[in-house]
């Protein structure tokens, strides 16, 4: 895979982003309720309303507003949040690292679970571990993911209080991170107490977020592993005297990853979308939680900034999945 390929993909993301920007801009401008009226106390005069509209640039004609807005966006100026009275870019940037850490931990958890479950099920094919894996992945997929988050809160947070169910870090902990990437920073500064606390907080939301992906990955990976185990190259290494476990981990797994990445690419984007609810359920201070607050407050500048941020995340996720695919599959890399 070449730098050329990546650049080309990034270039094609531009029209998609402009499309999302136009969609968001237009839709938000046709809102029936007046967001300005909601910001002012009852009894505000028409003059006050007018001044506030001018302040947020909502008094100009729509095309003019769009040109001004696009110009601002290109210069990295997304305006000021109406409800929080803070720059949208600053708000999003201060929350984004939390979401990214959550997503990365969730993907790692899902991949680890899926690899263990699928390899285990194929190794013990036809015996009880396979039935357990099949049953559990079916159960995980049957119950919607937002209920898994709530079930974790209920069971692991309250009935057997083993893990914290809200926030990102214990506020009494003496840890003053310089960046938003708390986990990475705790690790680099060798602050094991902070790292352990952060992991405790992130575990339940990450697990809730990871479950649907883990179940989908397990199913596809298991099927691909079974296919791979019937291939000639596996018979060959078996004749050479490799053990069954070694064949599974070293030979079959690598070949089974290609169809798995292809078939589960979409699931990775679902995971990004899943952060919105999971962060809300666990009061985790990321951009998903911010998005729900913004919608509830009808904070238009913030909503626009967040939707564009999510669009960028979705595009990048798709790019990463494609890159993983071409790294795994030499045939695609060469063509």
């Amino acid at each position: 895979m070449s730098a050329n390929y990546i650049l080309r993909r990034l270039f094609w993301a531009i029209p998609t982003l402009i499309g999302v920007a136009i969609l968001v801009f237009v839709l938000v401008r046709v809102v029936p309720g007046d967001p300005i009226a909601m910001m002012l106390p009852p009894g505000a005069t028409a003059e006050d309303v007018g001044r506030l509209r001018a302040l947020y640039g909502l008094d100009a004609p729509i095309p003019k507003q769009f040109v001004a807005w696009m110009g601002d966006v290109l210069r990295g100026n997304f305006g000021t949040s109406i409800s929080l009275r803070e720059g949208v870019v600053r708000l999003v940037m201060s929350r984004l690292p939390a979401t990214l850490e959550l997503v990365i931990v969730a993907v790692a958890v899902a991949c680890a679970f899926a690899a263990l479950a699928a390899v285990g099920a194929v190794y013990f094919r036809g015996r009880w571990p396979e039935l357990v894996v099949d049953g559990l992945s079916g159960l995980v997929l049957a119950i919607p993911d937002f209920l898994w988050g709530l079930l974790f809160v209920l069971v692991l947070g309250v009935l057997l209080p083993v893990l914290p169910i809200s926030g990102r870090i214990d506020p009494t902990l003496d840890f003053n991170p310089a960046t938003g990437f708390y986990l990475a920073e705790a690790l680099l500064r060798l602050r094991w107490d902070a790292f352990a606390d952060l992991m405790k907080h992130i575990l339940l939301p990450a697990l809730a977020l990871a479950l649907p992906l883990a179940a989908a990955l397990t199913r596809v990976l298991k099927g691909s592993l079974i296919d791979a185990m019937n291939q000639d190259y596996v018979t060959l290494v078996r004749v050479k005297g490799y053990s069954r476990a070694r064949i599974l981990w070293r030979v079959a797994l690598r070949n089974a990853l290609i169809p798995t990445v292809t078939l589960t690419g979409v699931q990775f984007s679902f995971l990004i979308g899943g952060t919105v609810l999971i962060e809300y359920i666990f009061s985790y201070p990321g951009i998903g939680n911010l998005a729900i607050a913004a919608v509830n407050q009808r904070d238009l500048p913030l909503i626009q900034g967040l939707v564009l941020t999510f669009a960028v995340l979705f595009i990048l996720t798709n790019l990463l999945v494609d890159m993983a695919y071409s790294i795994l599959n030499p045939r695609v890399r060469q063509s």
Partner: protein, 279 residues
Amino acid sequence: MKVIAVLRNPRVAFGVLVLVVLIVAAAGATRLSPHDPLEQDLLNSFQHPGASDGDQSHPLGTDSLGRDILSRLIFGARPALIVAFVAALFAGLIGTALGLAAGYFGGRLDAAISRLVDIWMSFPSVLLCIVLAAVLGAGLHTVIIAIVVIDWTRFCRVVRAETMLQKSLDYVASAVTIGLGPGRILASEILPNVAPLLLTLFTLEMGIAIVVEAILSFVGLSVSSGVPTWGGIIQEGRLYVNQAWWLMAAPMACIIVAVLGLNALGDGLREAIDPVKAR
């Protein structure tokens, strides 16, 4: 009759049972519920399930304002069922109309509709939901519109594929031969043959709609807080989860049973109506 045979399928039977319970609860909420779902009784807040003091009995306990949980759950079946029926109906109507047209006429129309579906499905539903909720504001109509706007593609894709299959069969060719127009063929020849599939999709969509309604009422974007909804009860329960875990557990159980029931009904119908294809 065939209906009896279909009901013998255990999944269908379970699904029908769940659906009937839901409909009865929603329709007879005023008669069935032991209390007024909005009636507050601050002296008896956070009652345990099964606790009864004096003349008041609360089989599933009470919430922070002393309101009866069982009654609130029964009334909560109403918004859930309304959203499930209306949203699945409109998503089905739009998706089926476009799917029939794309599958039957093919060519440029099919290319245009299929492309639209692809673009639509690549757009993350969470973003669409956020934007729609921001534009429309909170309310039951927002929930229904969001589901229809996001999920019509499910119907469209499946109906298109099925219509293309049906169109290649002899009975359609004979209908063309005897001079029936495309509208007539679609309505009275192809549609009845697609109907069993539609029934399955409709049932599955109802399950999805119930979850979406719960999610949106959970985050405060469905009906106003005066009307009890399952998601709303969960949200209230979340605030007091350390004092009263049952506030959250009871509505969660309702949603899980409703969704599992409707999914079982959809899957069971697919098996029962077309045992060959289900394999």
